[in-house]
């Protein structure tokens, strides 16, 4: 499945990307499978969205889609059909915070 992903500006710069990125996800489309594919395509993103060992989401990173905050969903829960079909992007967001 081709999933559209929108990265925050700092991670786009790090990965040398403009705009949203498309990743080809094999199997069920979940947070984990999207991030696995994204990190495989862009290894410089490893460790910037989730811990490299525990795979826990970094505290100030959020996952949104279809106007929902999915950050606290299980990483293995299916993402909305609209994300899996490419109709809606999966948004990786730097939490609004000082700095």
């Amino acid at each position: 499945m081709i999933v559209r992903v929108v990265l925050p500006a700092h991670l786009r710069t790090l990965a040398h990307l403009d705009g949203e990125v498309k990743v080809d996800v094999e199997g069920p489309v979940t947070q984990r499978s999207v991030l696995d594919t994204l990190e495989a395509d862009y290894p410089m993103l490893r460790g910037t969205m989730r811990d490299q060992v525990t795979q826990q989401r970094r505290a100030f990173v959020r996952f949104f889609a279809c106007q929902e905050d999915l950050s606290h969903e299980s990483p293995d829960a299916p993402l909305p059909d609209a994300v899996a079909s490419g109709a809606e992007p999966f948004l990786i967001v730097g939490a609004m915070a000082g700095g």
Binding site: P8, H10, L14, R46, G47, Q52, R58, G94, G99
Partner: protein, 371 residues
């Protein structure tokens, strides 16, 4: 004519400042990695085109960057700095035990001889080494597992390993400093470590002369005399003439002996520089005056260097990794401030001029002298 390249890390990116040997007209490039914190950048003494940079953010964690062309282009390398084995605990500021937790790389120290070997000092304090140009990292566990480690605790900036000194005459000897644990020395390339804090006295800890627990802010050496070390401690400027085995105070006539950086003249091993800061609770300059103090006698007798520096209404700080010297003759001295200025003295401190005035808050300054 020789050139200099100044690598500046700031709270919001890196800047590269270049000039010819006169050090009067400067080109400024940056921000590189804009918006990220650049705690430290440093070039390899063995290959000045090889640079390493520590890039981090509260949101996205730690990234290590490497350049093979003197900072014109960069590539991300490995950022997997994992403590090895069981991490145990250190003391938290309230005296309770707290597990070791990676926060960031404070300092990158390239090998003196191999461009692909580089050491990383991190928070929470530990030492890592890469021998493949930063692609992979291995912890030198002997430090973090030292028997005193459960008693280490953070300074106000975090429990950081911020200084790494490699002994040019003994390849297996290195010194590191941790806030707030103190100085440690290894004589076997980082396998085992001994605290080197005898003679330090710190009023802010239960036993002022304890073996560990001192908030050492910075240590420096001259490469021609690696057994002579200079230290800016939380309070007190100190000196060791026996490779850290013992220390004596050399604060002398400084207006305050609190501060962060200390550095040594490139050609005069007894000429040293500090920037006194008002106090540990007021991290700004005394009397609103930006004064570098120089001792030409290895300490105790200090002179204020003020020509070209603001002498009123200046309340910046100069952080521990924000001073450097070049190896031209006369020696150039550089420092950056939390107000975003980077100053140069092309005459060993006699006079100063700003290279830039309005960068983000400066965290680190390193300089490379290029052919």
């Amino acid at each position: 004519m020789s050139r200099v390249r100044v690598l500046v890390g700031t709270r919001k990116g890196a800047f590269v400042l270049t000039a010819d040997g006169l050090r009067q007209r400067w080109d400024v490039s940056g921000p590189h990695f804009g918006g990220w914190e650049l705690y430290h950048l440093k070039g390899s003494p063995a290959d000045p085109n090889r640079l390493y940079a520590s890039q981090s953010s509260s949101w996205f964690g730690q990234v290590i960057q490497r350049s093979n062309d003197g900072g014109q282009t960069w590539e991300t390398v490995g950022n997997k700095l994992l403590y090895e084995g069981v991490t145990g605990t250190h003391l938290w500021s309230d005296g309770t035990p707290r597990p070791w937790e990676f926060a960031r790389v404070w300092h990158l120290e390239p090998s003196l001889t191999d461009p692909d070997t580089v050491y990383a000092g991190i928070q929470d304090a530990a030492l890592f080494r890469s021998s493949d140009g930063g692609q992979t990292w291995q912890e030198l566990t002997g430090l973090r597992t030292h028997k005193s480690a459960p008693l280490w605790q953070p300074g106000a900036g975090g429990m950081c390993l911020h200084t790494i000194l490699l002994d040019p005459s003994r390849p297996d000897r290195m010194f590191i400093a941790i806030s707030a644990a103190g100085v440690f020395r290894s004589d076997d390339a980082g396998k085992t470590w001994r605290p080197m804090n005898r003679g330090l006295q710190s009023e802010g800890i239960p036993d002022p002369t304890a073996e560990v627990g001192h908030c050492v802010h910075r240590i420096a050496m001259h490469r021609s005399r690696p057994d002579v070390l200079f230290m800016q401690k939380h309070w007190d400027v100190m000196r060791s003439d026996d490779a850290g085995e013992s220390w004596r105070e050399i604060s002398g006539n400084l207006p305050t002996d609190f501060g962060f950086p200390i550095d040594v003249h490139a050609h005069e091993p007894e000429t040293i520089y500090v920037v006194p800061i008002k106090s540990d609770s007021e991290h700004y300059l005394p009397e609103g005056k930006l004064r570098v103090y120089r001792s030409r006698t290895g300490g105790n007798e200090w002179e204020a260097l003020t020509k070209g520096l603001p002498q009123r209404d200046c309340y910046v700080n100069v952080l521990r990794d924000s001073m450097a010297v070049d190896s031209l003759d006369p020696c150039g001295v550089y420092f950056g401030t939390t107000g975003g200025q980077v100053y140069v003295s092309p005459d060993a401190g006699d006079s100063w001029a700003p290279i830039v005035r309005d960068l983000p808050s400066v965290v680190s300054v390193e300089v490379q002298t290029l052919p």
